[in-house]
């Protein structure tokens, strides 16, 4: 764990950014662990996995890609940690090295899975690919475990540092929350739209699709909750009157946009009957609303 000395002081803005990165990093790490557990199960039971068909292959491919994105999202947190906290330099540098190794491992995992899917049905030997695959997964799991520890340590350290508290509305946090909302909603919508084209069995919606989409929304929810908690501590002082007005305008815009979306989903569901739409209407609605809300709020805030 990192030192919890009270000797270091730095501005509230930097503290907020570091905290946001730490929370985002923890959320994405859990998401990656979830995906890697699926990939590990697939690697352990390769024959069953290969029989599962293209849908499962696609899901694991999407998972590896999102884990890669998670690695990229963690980088700013690690770099900020290295720059800001002297005692974190050794741990942060080690984490940075592990991040690089893990990113290479992820790419090699993806390449191995690609080869296995093609070679195994043809009766070719895949023992080499399997060895590299398991090695890669082990490297990534080790990195993610370390990353969760580092993130938790950073949060603990920040809580105990002598920090210059900001009592005025923070523009950066407002922007960051809305940008994160746009990113989460964009990723969620992309995955949801992709799901429409996958031929998944009905049971898969419950144990695969909805948990995945919940995890995609998690970074936004975590940052939003921590921001609201800070705002409550300051008796709402973290938002000024224009930001409150912009949130109201954004809310109204997303409510108005949700009406045609809901009607369209209802019509499609009614016409096509039981199918992907009847299972995916909720994430489609939620992610579209979040996208419109975050984008419009940010637009109203910046439009002057």
């Amino acid at each position: 764990m990192l030192s919890t000395t009270n000797e270091i002081a730095f501005p509230g803005g930097k503290q907020t950014r570091l905290k946001n990165f730490a929370f985002l990093s923890i959320a994405l790490s859990f998401f990656s662990m979830f995906w890697l557990s699926q990939a590990t199960l697939a690697a352990l039971d390769i024959e069953q996995w290969l029989k599962a068909g293209d849908t499962t292959h696609d899901l694991i491919g999407v998972g590896l890609f999102i884990t890669f994105l998670a690695h990229m999202a963690m980088l700013p947190m690690i770099l900020t940690g290295i720059r800001t906290l002297g005692r974190a330099r050794v741990l942060g540098s080690a984490c940075l090295a592990l991040c690089a190794i893990s990113t290479i491992a992820l790419v090699s995992d993806w390449a191995c899975l690609h080869d296995i899917v093609r070679q195994y049905p043809a009766g070719l030997d895949i023992s080499g690919e399997m060895f590299v695959l398991r090695l890669g997964l082990a490297a990534t799991c080790a990195y993610l475990t370390f990353q969760i520890g580092l993130s938790a340590a950073l949060v603990t350290t920040l809580k105990n540092l002598k920090i210059e508290q900001s009592t005025r509305p923070v523009e950066d946090t407002f922007n960051a929350v809305n940008i994160l909302g746009i990113l989460c909603a964009g990723i969620g919508l992309t995955i949801t739209v992709r799901m429409y084209y996958l031929d998944l069995p009905v049971s898969a919606w419950e144990w695969v699709v909805l948990p995945i989409l919940c995890v995609v929304a998690m970074p936004y929810v975590v940052v939003l909750l921590s921001w609201l908690r800070e705002a409550r501590k300051e008796n709402g002082g973290l938002l000024d009157e224009k930001q409150k007005t912009d949130l109201l305008k954004g809310g109204t815009t997303s409510w108005l946009a949700s009406i045609p979306i809901t009607v369209a989903l209802f019509i499609v569901s009614y016409v096509t009957g039981p199918g992907p739409v009847s299972a995916l209407w909720l994430p489609t609605y939620l992610f579209t609303s979040l996208l419109v809300f975050s984008a419009s709020t940010l637009y109203f805030f910046r439009e002057a």
């Binding site: 005025r168 509305p169 523009e171 407002f174 000024d240 009157e241 224009k242 930001q243 910046r302 002057a304």
Partner: protein, 69 residues
């Protein structure tokens, strides 16, 4: 009717005070001051009073009504 203001002029008259300094003094973001100066955002009575007090003037000296033609 629209609300006009001389906030930008007052800032320059007061040692070219920056938007951020004014924003910090009255407890809002720099973006809000920018929007007020551009006439895109109408401040509350409380915020208008705070801005006037910062410049040592009355609210009417800074904010005025622009009648429609």
């Amino acid at each position: 009717m629209k609300l006009g203001n001389t906030v930008r002029k007052c800032r320059f008259d007061l040692d070219e005070t920056s938007q951020q300094v004014l924003a910090d003094a009255v407890g809002v973001t720099r973006q809000t001051i920018y929007a007020i100066e551009r006439g895109k955002f109408v401040p509350s009575t409380l915020l208008a009073l705070k801005i006037a007090r910062f410049f040592g003037k009355s609210v009417e000296d800074i904010f005025y009504v622009i009648d429609d033609e």
